[in-house]
Amino acid sequence: MAKLIMTADDSASVRQMVAFTLKQNGYDVIEAVDGKDALTKLGSQKVDMLLTDLNMPNLDGIGLIKAVRGGTLNRMIPIVMLTTESQDSRKSEGKTAGATGWIVKPFKPEQLIAVVKKVLG
């Protein structure tokens, strides 16, 4: 059965490219338009991995990570930040919140897939 990955990003074009890349490689994808939307969906849907943007309206990426890690259904899943942000201080913030990894946009499909494979074991 294909692994289910959530992509949370306020940019529709980025969500589209992430979904395209993942689907091409046999993953199922669920999309969320911001942190709040992601959190709602993750409350009722078990996923295998979360890819999230940092800067999003309503609830940002760091807030989303903290909420997921503090929840129950998906608290142990790998969470990778996918953001334009590249500052070390922000990366540390993400790591502290519970991020598994950090990818700076723009990503190359092969990079994303390599990371996904790695974190999903």
Binding site: S11, S13, W102, I103, V104, K105, P106, V115
Partner: protein, 597 residues
């Protein structure tokens, strides 16, 4: 103060334009992204068809077909040689028959002379009988019998002569036509066999060419994946442009608020100069950010278009290479396989003609045997005439003796008749011997030809079956190749057309450039007026420090840094438009922009 008001009024509309630029241009990106999946699927389908085509002429069936063709050609060459030898032998035998038929002339001349003598003796006997009157009555019926024999000899001799001439003519004609057609057929078949042999070399070349096409297909597949990957990267630029534009509009909104604040209070010259300097600094920086965002977007869109075109072009190249490799001159017909199929089809037809020629030869030999048997019947009749002549001569001698002195002349005639019977028998025997020789020759040939024709016929049937199977396999392969080529060319054509339609409608980079050009123009005018009054200072970096902390992208920071350096007199970074993935080193296993914790 008045200028500050003017600048604020110029800045405010640019904020709207920038917001509009960031907020309304994503649809085109989404449209491209939506079609990317389709292009990828079509490209994969083209690659799959290309691989199937290449595999078709590289797999075991192909090698079995080539080996089968080689074996079949060898068998055809052997058949042709056997048929040629058999034909030569038949021709030699028929020539011997013709020579033997020539020797029949001598006995026929003797029979003709016998007929003449018999006629003469018959007339003389009639005259002498008439002279004797009553005493010669018995000789009159003798003369009639001699006359009848003469007619019989003449009749049979004529029949033999006619049959001989007819047979000689048929044989000569058959030899001439048979030799010529056999020569032509052998020449034709040899030329076709040579063509088939050349075709095998082409088959070997085809296999080699298709193998290299297989490598090319793999390469193209990799290049297409790489192009798709580039498009995926390029299409993410909108998110970055949007964020950069949002930062610009935020900076300008904040500047407009600060100008409003300045306008609202009583300002001294120093405060006013600081406000003017800030307008210059902020606007100069935002122009650079807007231009950078515009350039990055332009480059990314152009790159996406180029890569999309590359996908179509690479598939077209592969499609052309495969068409050349398989020797196809069009999408619906594969000329090489068609030529090869025609060669074997024609070869089969020529071999069937060869077999027909052999069969006709055999039939001719049968006809010879029939005619010889008929001639022998006539000769036997003549042989019987010889016995009758002998009896008539004996009867005539007895009657002449009874007639006494008056029958002396008739006795001489009887003696003549008797000596004729002695001439007729050896000539008839000689003729029968010749005919027997011909019979032996033809019987041997018929029996041998019968056997050989049966063997050759069996071989031909076997070859025809194999040929049918091989031609059928060739047709099937040709059909498969043609069908796949049609599908491949159609699929690639469709892909190219779809890409052309989509890319020809992409104008987002031009519309963004158009909008940002007016923004840059307005802001540059403000910068120019502000700098005239308050030149830039090396305090730039410090003045706009708050702005730097809001950046999310490395490219924004680099632009900020470059302008600050310029104003502080340090060397400006020459490149500010290039996209940087990260400002700190990532995990090398995945690239500089990736960190796994």
């Amino acid at each position: 103060m008045e200028l500050l008001t003017q600048w604020r009024d110029r800045i405010l509309p640019t904020i709207d334009i920038i917001k509009r630029t960031a907020g309304t241009t994503e649809d085109e990106f989404l449209q491209i992204g939506a079609r990317l999946q389709e292009f990828y699927a079509k490209s994969q389908e083209s690659s799959r068809l290309a691989h199937r085509l290449v595999d078709l002429v590289s797999d075991d069936d192909y090698h079995a077909l080539v080996a089968g063709l080689r074996r079949m050609t060898d068998e055809m060459a052997e058949y042709l040689e056997a048929s040629r030898l058999q034909n030569r032998e038949s021709c030699d035998s028929l020539e011997q028959v013709l020579e033997l038929l020539e020797t029949v002339s001598q006995p026929l001349a003797a029979f003709k002379k016998m007929d003449k003598t018999l006629r003469m003796l018959g007339i003389s006997t009639k005259i002498e009988s008439a002279r004797l009157g009553e005493a010669g009555n018995g000789f009159m019926s003798l003369a009639v019998d001699v006359g009848k024999l003469s007619c019989l000899v003449r009749e049979k001799t004529d029949s033999i002569r006619i049959q001989r001439e007819l047979l000689g003519s048929v044989l000569a004609k058959h030899l001439q036509v048979g030799k010529a057609s056999k020569l032509l057929q052998t020449k034709e078949a040899c030329s076709m066999l040579n063509a088939a042999t050349i075709s095998f070399d082409e088959l070997a070349d085809l296999n080699a060419r298709c193998s290299s096409c297989g490598e090319l297909a793999g390469q193209v597949s990799g290049e297409v994946s790489s192009s798709i990957s580039e498009v995926v990267s390029s299409l993410q630029i909108h998110d970055m442009m949007r964020q950069q534009m949002e930062h610009v509009s935020e900076a300008l909104e904040r500047l407009a608020c600060e100008v409003d604040t300045t306008l609202a209070i009583e300002c001294d010259d120093e405060r006013l100069a600081a406000a003017v300097g800030q307008v210059g600094d902020v606007c100069e920086l935002q122009v650079a950010q807007v231009q950078n965002a515009t350039n990055e977007l332009h480059e990314a869109v152009v790159s996406a278009i180029d890569n999309l075109h590359d996908i179509g072009e690479r598939q077209s190249l592969l499609s052309c290479e495969i068409m050349n490799a398989t020797g196809s001159n069009g999408a619906s017909e594969n000329s090489f396989f068609t030529d090869l199929r025609n060669v074997f089809s024609d070869l089969g037809a020529v071999l069937r003609k060869c077999a027909e020629t052999d069969r006709l030869f055999f039939a001719t030999l049968g006809k010879v045997a029939e005619t010889i048997s008929e001639i022998s019947g006539f000769v036997s009749s003549i042989e019987e005439v010889s016995t009758e002549i002998n009896l008539i001569a004996l009867n005539a001698q007895i009657r002449a003796a009874h007639t006494g002195q008056d029958g002396v002349a008739l006795g001489v005639l009887a003696e003549g008749i008797n000596s004729l019977s002695k001439v007729a028998a050896p000539q008839a025997n000689e003729l029968l011997r010749t005919l027997s020789s011909i019979s032996v020759l033809t019987d041997t040939l018929v029996s041998k030809a019968e056997c050989e024709l049966a063997v050759l016929g069996e071989r031909l049937t076997g070859m025809e079956e194999k040929s049918d199977k091989t031609v059928s396999s060739l047709e099937q392969m040709n059909e498969k190749i043609s069908r796949l080529l049609v599908d491949l060319v159609g699929s690639v054509g469709e892909l190219n057309e779809d890409i052309r339609q989509l890319t020809s409608g992409i104008t987002v980079h031009y519309s963004v450039a158009e909008l940002t050009r007016s923004v840059a123009c307005e802001l540059n005018e403000v910068v120019s007026q502000a700098r005239e009054r308050v030149p830039a200072t090396n305090e730039f970096h410090e003045n706009l420090r708050h702005m730097a902390s809001r950046y999310t992208m490395q490219s924004e920071r680099r632009i900020h840094e470059a302008i600050a350096r310029r104003h502080s007199g340090a060397a400006e970074d020459s490149v500010v438009n290039s996209m940087e993935y990260a400002d700190s080193g990532g995990d090398s296993e995945f690239g500089d922009n990736v960190d796994l914790f």
